[in-house]
Amino acid sequence: METTISKENNTTIFALKGRLDSNSAPQFEHQLQDFLATPATHLVFDFNNLDYISSAGLRVVLNTAKAYKSGKFLFITCAMQEHVQEVFEISGFDSFITIHRSIDESLSVLKG
């Protein structure tokens, strides 16, 4: 999986490409480490180019949501492909993780 990290105003965006499984999850978790230890911006996972997620990927997303739960910054996901969104819904994650249709929608919410 490829990860592109960018910053827009008060938001850090992780754009994921490829497959988030037990093979790629440890590296992704490592890249997130500093952001989760002390959140200093809002965080968006852009799933537009993410083709696949397994429970190993869901674990990283759950830990991210937990790390952002109590602070003043928000954690948002966006642009999920149908199969990825289905996995989120089966797991019940859509009840506590915000899912936007596009990165533009997420950025405009966070800007306002």
């Binding site: 497959r19 397994s54 429970s55 674990r59 019940g92 009840s95």
Partner: protein, 139 residues
Amino acid sequence: MKITFQINNDISELESLLDQLQVLEKKWSLSRKTSAEINLVLDELITNIIKHSNCSKKQPIDLTLTKTDKKLTIQLADSGLPFDPTVCKLPDTSLSLENRTCGGLGVLLIRQFSDCWHYKRLKDRNILTLQKICPKECG
């Protein structure tokens, strides 16, 4: 129609699983969705075996996939510690974020994307058999 292959006991082997399934998707005219679901089920099962079964790297996992009409049967055999995933407790998906834990998510996804499964321990091997009914758009 039947296909048999082995997966080495290493997490990077998930890529060779994907290669095998892409061949199968074409050969058996599976829909993209069905093949993605099979991939997820096998990924979860194989990841579990590799991480928890204490298998040595020299003991590969044997996979057999059989398709008869619309029914797909998947069998996995490994020589690891006895482990029956069919009796694992499923996570409560209605819990709030603070009460959710990571456990059981893989088993939940396997249950969701397969129609029935059966476990037995035979000659020091775990034998897990799953069935999946393919939707009508599959060939």
